[in-house]
Amino acid sequence: MTRTHTFAFALALSIGLATARPASAQEDQANNDGKVYASVLHTSAGETLKDVMVTFADGKITAIAPGSALPDGYAEGLVLTAGLIDLSARVTRSENAVEQTNEVESRLSVANSLDLFDRTWDRLARSGVTTVLATPPDRNVVGGLSAVLKTQGSKDMAQRQLNARNFLRGAMGDAPSSGNRPAWGSPNSIYNRRPTTRMGVEWEWRRAFFDAAAAPEYPELEFPGADVFRAVLAGNITLYVQAFTVIDIRTAVFLKEEMKREGFGDIQMWIDGGSEAWKDAQLLKRSNTGVVLSPFPSAGYSPERSFQAWRVAKDLDEMGIPFTLSAHGRTEPGRTLADQAGRAMRGGLSFEKALAAVTSAPAAVLGLEDRLGTVEVGKDADFVLWSGQPFELTSRIIGVWVDGRQVQ
């Protein structure tokens, strides 16, 4: 056993012992009713309250009583925040989620490929993530429609999915073109998938948009799923494009601007990744494009050999560019979404902004700001209870609630 392993084991053990039962919770698991006491509550709605009792019933917050006296047997020094939201949780890792018959698969929903029995959901929940945006793997140029769901709840997909904004997911860069290769494994014949270059990827994007836009006038250009692209052009579906390097970010934004110039429509676009957003932040600002930031690299480079400076979150914030943070579904200590918020703070972002970037900001991107992202009466009872100041290395998560049910 290496020293790292020993340490991780000891850490896990101590957490396990300490979190057997958070001292500040009383609840009725059957009815997902209950109460949580916290010394400090960061509401994500601009308030920090001291000595708070948050009451919830049927999965919704019913009362927040600040200034409550510390009840008997309750620990002091606990901090409560809203549940964290990851817009790039990458929960779809199975090769069986990649549809290879077509590079542009706009109609397919990733919901049909998700495995709700996967242990990833429990790990995500325990790391404080209560809601995720699930996207198809980026092995297609356009992989299909995304799904929004809580990390805990019904195993019935229809019940688990939240009625959120719709996202069409695709990728720029080398993920969908990686070296004339099948989705997994090595290339084995000249029949392997196309495109094989960044140019080819971009060509697939533009052809799809141009054909979809022109099809009402030229029916021979119609293709399965063209209606989804027209909904994107009409602004009814958000375009969610993976792009890490500045050339890929530019390609995506130029596509959006080209569609507007041609009079096809004004695309609502979010970039997933955006490691090198700092190299051309003006472009994002000009085009009103948001960024779901890739996890901060511990050392070396972000995906696709991009370089992500630790101050990129702060830069985006100062430029007024909408952004959120993401852990790409990582849940091991030091790599969780909470850790990403801590790293953004080390890059200069304030605590309030870092908290917003993992709670209220992503809730707004999903169009679920009335339901998620803050601790307010009427919102979902999704909380994270911390042993100290959130996102600090010395703090740990000691309780997570999803829809009023505590994660075991």
Partner: protein, 388 residues
């Protein structure tokens, strides 16, 4: 040609022989296990024209020939989900959706494996096409010993598991050889001319299209006009299959992996029966717990068997493992007989000794279905097909 003739003859037969002046036979055994909770010691089973006329401790034997038997008489067992009896030629890879295919046209009812099943006390076997397609056409239910193919029970076979993706352009194997090796020696699966999908999402879309297209034979499973066999493996796939059945009011059987017990309530609500694939598991813990959960939920279920790859006795072994995990002898016996029959909608035909059911009988030298008991004689549709 001979096989074809046999096949056609078998498939035309449809029902047990209905002779007007059929002789009546009464089988009297030391113990008669009805499978509906009663044991008559001694007991009698009256059989005419392939059907059970009466069962009881003492029956009127006027005009009947009486057969004295030493041992325990029970109904024959029902094996589900056999993918091996059809053979490799039963796999059609030309289309991803093959709703028109019929297993009975490629089935050889006289193959030795059918006789071996009969000798081990299995009298009914449910065949599913061993397919890599999304929809593989209609399966069949056959009697062992006689090879009679039942007119009903030809379920439409729909896959929800990853087996349907094996032909996609994504061969994991060959990585060690590098690109050149496979470039010259066969682009294994690299070409996909038959429109096979490679993802659950893609398959789900094709299935929805077919179910909603009145010209597709697959559309007949919506509403239950044709029963369906929904093949799944892990829980996510089973959950998708159950949701699909609920959405389109599909009736039939869910083939499911060893952890289906976690979805017992959902299966019960869907009205589907379950075919448990438990034998390939090295650790039977989850499968046996699932059997317990399905029993508690009141879901009819039976066990899958691959007759050409597994010993027939593994069916009994599955029941024994379930008993060790907590099922009663009666409950585990039902999984081998009436439960399995109900899971495929055959409860009014086979699976118990009851008036009106097919005369599929097994004589054991000990308790029926016990690992240590031997099968002495077997009757299918009233005909003796095996004797030791």
């Amino acid at each position: 040609m001979f096989l074809l003739a046999l096949t056609v003859a078998a498939s035309l037969a449809g029902a047990p022989p209905q002779e007007t002046n059929a002789p009546t036979v009464v089988l009297r055994a030391d113990h008669v296990h009805t499978g509906t909770g009663a044991v008559h010691s001694p007991g009698m089973v009256k059989v005419r024209a392939g059907r059970i006329v009466d069962v009881g401790a003492s029956l009127n034997t006027d005009g009947a020939s009486v057969l004295e038997l030493k041992g325990h008489l029970s109904a024959g067992m029902v094996a589900l989900g056999d993918q091996t009896l059809l053979g490799e030629q039963g796999v059609d890879t030309t289309r991803f959706v093959l709703g028109e295919a019929e297993t009975r046209l490629g089935f050889d009812p006289r193959q030795p494996a059918m006789q071996r099943l009969a000798q081990e006390g299995v009298t009914t076997v449910v065949l599913t096409p061993p397919s890599h397609s999304l929809v593989a056409g209609r399966g069949l239910i056959a009697k062992t010993g006689t090879g009679r193919v039942l007119a009903n029970g030809q379920a439409m076979h729909v896959a929800f598991d990853a087996e349907m993706f094996v032909d996609r352009a994504d061969p994991m194997e060959g990585q060690d050889f590098g690109g050149g090796f496979f470039f010259f020696f066969g682009p294994n699966g690299a070409v996909n001319p038959n429109g096979y999908k490679s993802s659950y999402s893609g398959a789900a879309e094709v299935l929805e299209e077919n179910v909603q297209d009145p010209n597709s034979p697959v559309s007949k499973i919506a509403g239950g006009e044709v029963t369906a066999w929904l093949r799944s493996s892990d829980r996510a796939e089973s959950a998708r299959a159950i949701a699909f059945a609920k959405r389109h009011k599909v009736q039939g059987t869910l083939e499911a992996g060893p952890r289906i017990g976690d979805l017992a309530a959902e299966v019960k609500a869907s009205g589907l029966g379950v075919a448990l694939t438990m034998f390939r598991e090295t650790d039977p813990h989850f499968a046996t717990q699932s059997a317990l959960a399905l029993t508690r939920a009141g879901v009819p279920y039976g066990f899958c068997l691959s007759a050409k790859e597994q010993p027939v006795a593994s069916l009994r072994m599955a029941a024994a493992l379930c008993r060790r995990a907590g099922l009663t002898a009666d409950q585990s016996w039902r999984a081998l007989t009436s439960g399995a029959a109900q899971a495929v909608g055959l409860e009014k035909q086979v699976g118990a000794l009851r008036q009106g059911l097919d005369a599929d009988l097994v004589l054991w030298d000990g308790q029926p279905g016990e690992l240590t008991s031997r099968v002495l004689q077997v009757w299918v549709d009233g005909q003796k097909v095996s004797a030791r």
